[in-house]
């Protein structure tokens, strides 16, 4: 019989909370983390609002008892904090008791340091210690070392869909018996590289983003990290543990339409949702809640909405984008939102789509705008899409 994959631990850090408890509290109190930036060193700092974690690099190092002179990118520190919480949350004390892997994702790795020191790298030797932390895999190894993981480490980078893909890959490694446990997720820290990139594409909103609203005019950038602990059912049974939810479906498809834009038919998103549903063995009516990618850009929300209508017809399950809370955390978005889905299942709650007022005329669908607590949340579908046409979907379920 094939192994089942369950989620036994969650860990996250973002602008709405330093851990799961604070995050849930913000979600339940409609408290957005988006505001003016304190730490970002950019000429555009005051032009936009961000989902920024209100801690400096040095404060993050202190939280992890890392000496100030040691070279850690902000990306690595955020990943370390969230991954450690996930492992503790899963009640794992002996990490090497079973074959355990760490899979992470990031879009720009240690760019938060490289962009500050790039001129130094080229002209002097003062910041040489940060050269190797530019690598996307650097933060993964920093976390693996912190947790003592040796069996398997790797890193994925598929733009904004990155971290959902680590959860998918981790589940497959467990199902095939290559590993017993995987800590999977992703991280990105705010950087002026991405800020300027998205700014030149003119898809940043200067005000709070309004996903799925007719008047939406772009996304807010955020930062954060999110990791889940995946374990095989036989290991959980052996340990006498209880799981938070089960990972039932997943799929990855490519839109193959444009390097950055989504297709007018939402083909990649349609395929990802359809294939994930098929693998889960669930009917479309079984989905209690969809955490949409919903960035707040004109293109994404329209294309995703069209794809949802193609999959679900006129009976689209309750859905919301939580990017009004956190901003778009890029390589961390998929795993942070999977965590929100797990919290929705655990607390039978749907978290609202902040800042929504007007329905998009073309598609006529409305996200949930209030906290819903009076119904059972059995199955959550979560979407994550990215540049390069990468579209991925996960489905998690109540046990």
């Amino acid at each position: 019989m094939q192994r089942r994959v369950l989620i036994t631990g969650l860990g996250t850090i973002s602008s709405i909370g330093m851990n799961i408890e604070e995050t849930l509290d913000s979600l339940l109190n409609k408290r957005s983390g988006i505001k003016k930036s304190k730490n970002l060193q950019s000429v555009h700092k005051d032009d936009f609002v961000f989902g920024e974690i209100p801690l400096t690099l040095s404060e993050l190092k202190d939280m992890l008892n890392i000496p100030q002179h040691e070279a850690y990118s902000r990306t690595s520190l955020l990943a370390m904090l969230a991954a450690k919480e996930a492992v503790d949350n899963a009640g794992i004390s002996d990490i090497n008791k079973y074959r355990t892997g760490f899979l992470s994702a990031s879009t720009v790795g240690g760019m938060d340091r490289s962009e500050l020191y790039y001129s130094d790298f080229l002209t002097n030797d003062t910041q040489n210690k940060y050269i190797d932390s530019h690598h996307c895999g650097d933060h993964t190894e920093k976390v693996a070392d912190l947790l003592g993981i040796k069996d398997f480490t790797s890193t994925i980078s598929t733009a904004c869909s990155s971290s959902i893909n680590t959860i998918m890959f981790g589940a497959r490694l467990i199902k095939l018996g290559i590993l017993d446990r995987v800590i999977a997720g992703g991280v990105d820290s705010l950087s002026k590289f991405t800020l300027n990139g998205f700014n030149t594409l003119m898809i940043l909103d200067r005000e709070h983003c309004r996903p799925f609203d007719e008047t939406r005019s772009g996304l807010n950038l955020g930062e954060g990290a999110g990791y889940v602990v995946l374990e095989a059912d036989d290991i959980i049974e052996k340990e006498g543990k209880t799981a938070i939810c089960e990972l039932k479906g997943y799929a990855n498809a490519n839109d193959a339409f444009h390097q950055t834009a989504s297709s007018p038919t939402g083909e990649g998103a349609f395929l990802a949702m359809t294939k994930a549903l098929k693998l889960s063995g669930l009917n479309k009516d079984d989905i209690s809640y969809i955490n949409v990618h919903g960035t707040g850009t004109g293109n994404n929300d329209l294309s995703e909405g069209i794809a949802m209508k193609r999959v679900f017809g006129e009976n689209i399950p309750p859905f919301s984008s939580t990017k009004g809370y956190t901003g778009h955390t890029l390589g961390a978005a998929g795993s942070i939102e999977t965590i929100f889905g797990a919290l929705a299942i655990k607390h039978n709650t749907i978290f609202p789509n902040l800042n929504f007022v007007n329905t998009i005329e073309e598609i006529g669908i409305r996200p949930e705008t209030d906290i819903i607590t009076n119904r059972e949340i059995k199955n959550v579908l979560s979407n994550s899409f990215g540049f390069g046409g990468n579209n991925s979907t996960l489905i998690i379920s109540k046990i």
Binding site: S119, S157, N252, A256, G388
Partner: protein, 355 residues
Amino acid sequence: MINSVYINGLGAISPQETFSADSFLKNIIDYNQKYLEIIPPVYKEYIDPKALRRMSKIVRMGVASGFMALKQANIEIPDAINTGTGLGCQADTEKFLQTMIDNDETLLNPSSFIQSTHNTIGGQIALAIGCNNYNMAYVHRTFSFETALLDSMMMITEGTAKNVLVGGVDEITEESYYIRAKIGHLKNEAEQSSNILNSKTIGALCGEGAAFAVVSDSKTETSYCKIDGVSMFYKPVDTLEIAAKITSFLQEHNLTPQDIDFVISGFNGDIEYDGIYRMINEKIFEHSGLGMYKNLCGEYDTSSAFATWMAANILKFKEIPSEIIIKKPLNKVKRVLIYNQFHNVNHSIILMSEC
């Protein structure tokens, strides 16, 4: 356990003449440079000229070598595209970063940002052939290609794919070479590529390249060989642990080190770390032949994709170019193990056999 897969098509762009399918490393070029750069094919034979104009070097060589592999395997649309790249689109990243610094974050063009993401190569291949299937980009140092390969083999084992396009690609730029050379990762001075085994300095002879393969669940007329397994191990404590990991990997495939006819090792000319290959060879592979490949392509995160291309050709053509032989194999080469590591941190092995 993961099933073996067949390599049914290959494409490689490297510092050697590697894009002809009919011959195998006939005229090996001996370089005396700080880093080895690819010999570009006539790209417009592979890529639409309109798309080509917008592509950086890494995207060009990735897309073109991907197309070569698909064509050889007679596959139009693969069931998945899995790309490994260590540092991704460096030229576009540097261009955007430098302009951002020079212009104080104004007057920026989005195109280099758009093409700077690590999944650009896989995304561009999908876009060009209209492939809506699974598409992944692995970006973990010298595990990048290996993880992409593992994923591909897993898909074939799961039955979710029959033909997967998998490859590794990395580019070198003057800036990134300079930055990595000054921290000792790469050689600071020009080095004779044929002489890396006798190098007296630290740092690797740097290179770049792209190599893609179509791996499939069944043998066809175009099959080169089989890939039987891939494994990675992180920060082993000593060579004993490395030897134990390799031996137990072989055991899982019902093999012993004596069953390996030829070991292709990742010697890169760094006097600090090349000794590991010698020690492993003496410890467990005393009966096997020993070879190298970075004297042809240089060191880069996904160089094992080039090694896979080379091993597949050795198994197909039944000949080993003398330039890569360190110790001659005693037997006809039926089974090859690629062993690569960087700075004794990321170690990987790929097991291949004739079919």
